[in-house]
């Protein structure tokens, strides 16, 4: 997978996120609180590419993808930044569209596999009706043809047509997950966002589901953002990956390089702390707790837990700096301040 098809052809940007800030803002009885879940994230995704997002729980991964697909609800507000897609050959700013246009875009061009999507299927409707609810209006074919298309698509995901007549509770976890992948890909969208699609599954099923997800992605040539905290999944599936810590991107690059040569101490910790079969030398967990995003540490947000922290880290947040072609990192130790940074 990581042979990077993006390199073979001219890299074409499908998604461009610029300096995105999204905070959870609440105000009760005159006490207002602001949780800075996404704080200045810029990234881009090319056509036919799988982009991975990693980081610990509560680092803002899910909030970031929610803002990317504009699935936000009130306490979550966009403070600044933009999300631009190139969907169906047309550039569009998701936040400038009205609801009707957005509804036409969803599922047809942009689909979203939610966290715990096993529980997304309506429990009192058969799977067939879920397909009709979600996808029928986007396909623009009469019902019999639409259902034939759905059956063909399910066959591609190695699901029997009989699945359509089942209720969700009659299917196993792995089958339900494949059904939600089928739902998200049946309209051959240009862009798929998958938020922890395999976290609830055990190892054997996880591998199958990921293999299918990649196969579908290759067949319909869409781009994908895959969110998971499992570095093993990223190593196998994604082309490029970004590491998030406390609402910010701290490192980004080609997956092979990020995992083999991590520059940020947090990434290095994530990669080296995992035990491997065949190697039992002692490994350490990360000390300290994840920062409270309502009151994040000053400067670099990782400094209270960082083994390399310097005085500068406490004062100034490090900028994202290119350290190699396509490899960016936000760390004062990895990219010391100097004339190169200022430019």
């Amino acid at each position: 997978m990581s042979v990077a098809p993006a390199q073979a052809e001219a890299a074409e940007r499908v998604l461009e996120v610029a300096n995105l800030r999204a905070y959870y803002r609440t105000s009760y009885f005159g006490v207002s609180r602001e949780v800075r879940a996404v704080d200045g994230v810029s990234l881009h995704v090319d056509r036919n590419e799988i982009y991975g997002l990693a980081g610990e729980s509560s680092c803002g991964k899910s909030t970031l993808v929610k803002t990317i697909v504009r699935a936000i609800r009130p306490p979550l507000t966009i403070i600044e930044g933009s999300v631009r897609f190139d969907l169906g050959g047309r550039a569009c700013d998701l936040y400038a569209l009205d609801q009707a246009r957005l509804a036409g875009l969803r599922w047809r061009h942009l689909s979203y596999i939610l966290q715990g999507s096993m529980n997304v299927l309506n429990p009192v409707r058969r799977v067939r009706q879920s397909f009709v609810d979600f996808a029928f209006r986007h396909v623009g074919k009469p019902m019999p043809q639409f259902l034939r298309q759905v059956e063909n698509h399910l066959a591609r995901l190695r699901l029997e047509p009989a699945v359509l007549d089942s209720y969700p509770h009659e299917l196993s976890g792995g089958m339900r997950q494949r059904v939600t992948i089928a739902l998200a890909s049946v309209c051959r969208p240009d862009f798929i966002v998958a938020d922890e699609p395999t976290t609830a599954l055990d190892v054997v099923v996880q591998k199958d589901v990921l293999a299918l997800l990649c196969e579908v992605q290759r067949q319909i040539r869409s781009s994908m953002i895959l969110v998971t905290h499992d570095i093993g999944v990223h190593a196998n599936v994604t082309d490029r990956m970004g590491i998030m810590y406390a609402g910010r991107l701290v490192e980004e690059g080609r997956t092979v390089e990020v995992i083999r040569k991590p520059r940020h101490p947090y990434t290095a910790h994530l990669v080296t702390s995992l035990p491997r079969i065949g190697d039992a030398e002692p490994r350490k967990g990360l000390e300290g707790a994840p920062p409270n995003l309502a009151n994040p540490p000053s400067g670099c947000r990782f400094h209270p837990r960082c083994p390399l922290a310097m005085a500068l880290c406490r004062q100034q947040p490090p900028p994202m700096v290119d350290v190699a072609a396509g490899h960016r990192v936000a760390c004062w130790a990895a990219a010391p301040p100097g004339p190169a940074v200022v430019s």
Binding site: M1, S2, V3, E56, S57, S58, R158, G173, L201, D202, V203, V204, V205, Q206, K207, D208, L210, A211, L212, C214, H229, D230, I231, G232, V233, H234, A235, N236, V237, T255, V256, I259, R260, H269, L270, V271, S273, L274, P275, R276, I277, G278, A280, P282, R283, K284, G285, L286, E287, A289, P290
Partner: protein, 274 residues
């Protein structure tokens, strides 16, 4: 040596439905396992969802009675423990740790309440000793009573909460801890601190641990022996390093091949069994 825990061909059958539409599920089928007293070890029970791992744990903890076979703890058959006093005595020696620390504690109750209650009921502590016991147990897991006192579960991170759950289990000084997927809800960066903690419990406090998981890498890392289960049956068991390095049963091999390792970066991703 006398056995600490002796599981002898234990089985569990769940029957559901009515007389005409009966469904019989054999959740655990003739599983045997022996842990020796005086030789603390970590035994990992590995298997996919639905392989009967949790049912086995519930039977060891006397939360469910086996339909056949016996489980003996220090010579007493666990299923015959009925009276309140005998149950308390058993719980003093065998303690559970559950998968999701956020579900294990009542979100409306302060966390120290659980620690104090365990100290009072299981360790028989009174007065100032209650606090001392709780504090000592918390120090064993790298926390302190000052950090935990008066706080609600949502005020702690998942890793801290799971440590507090382990501290609670340590208060009665148990001989055996049954940990059911203790790290699957804790994310990668904190997982290792919990796993290392289990190792130090074995080495320093002489506690035997039954570690139930589907994560082969951490099982390899900490356990002395493994038992691999598939559809209720034990398909392979032995010394952890040997079994996981060179699995013999086809199912154990499939499990090992399915582990996605960070070392695979750059290699093509293929799934063998689709």
């Amino acid at each position: 040596m006398s056995p600490l825990l002796d599981i002898d061909r234990v089985g569990m059958t769940y029957v559901s439905g009515t007389l005409l539409a009966r469904r019989v599920v054999r959740a655990v089928d003739a599983v045997s396992l022996r842990l020796e007293a005086g030789r603390p070890e970590i035994v990992a029970i590995i298997g996919e969802s639905g392989s009967g791992k949790t049912t086995l744990a519930r039977m060891i903890l006397n939360l469910a009675a086996p339909t056949d076979g016996t489980i003996r703890f220090l010579g007493t058959e666990v299923a015959t423990i009925r009276s309140k006093r005998a149950r308390m005595d058993f719980m003093r020696q065998v303690q559970p740790i559950f998968q999701n620390p956020f579900e294990a504690f009542n979100p409306l109750k302060r966390l120290d309440r659980y620690l104090f209650m365990s100290a009072r009921r299981f360790a028989g502590a009174r007065g100032a000793e209650i606090d001392a016991r709780a504090d000592r147990a918390l120090h064993q897991v790298g926390l302190s009573l000052a950090e935990v006192k008066g706080r609600f579960p949502h005020e702690l991170s998942g890793g801290q909460l799971q440590r507090a759950a382990i501290a609670r289990a340590l208060i009665p000084a148990p001989k055996l801890i049954v940990a059911d997927e203790p790290v699957s809800m804790v994310d990668a960066s904190l997982r290792m601190s919990i796993v290392n903690l289990f190792r130090s419990l074995r080495d320093e406090l002489q506690v035997s641990i039954i570690y139930i998981t589907h994560d082969l890498a951490t099982a390899y890392y900490i356990s002395d022996r493994v038992l691999i289960m598939q559809r209720g049956q034990a398909v392979e068991s032995g010394v952890a390093r040997d079994v996981l390095a060179n699995p013999q049963h086809p199912y154990s091999r499939l499990l090992k091949e399915s582990v996605l390792s960070p070392d695979d970066a750059g290699k093509p991703f293929v799934s063998a069994n689709i």
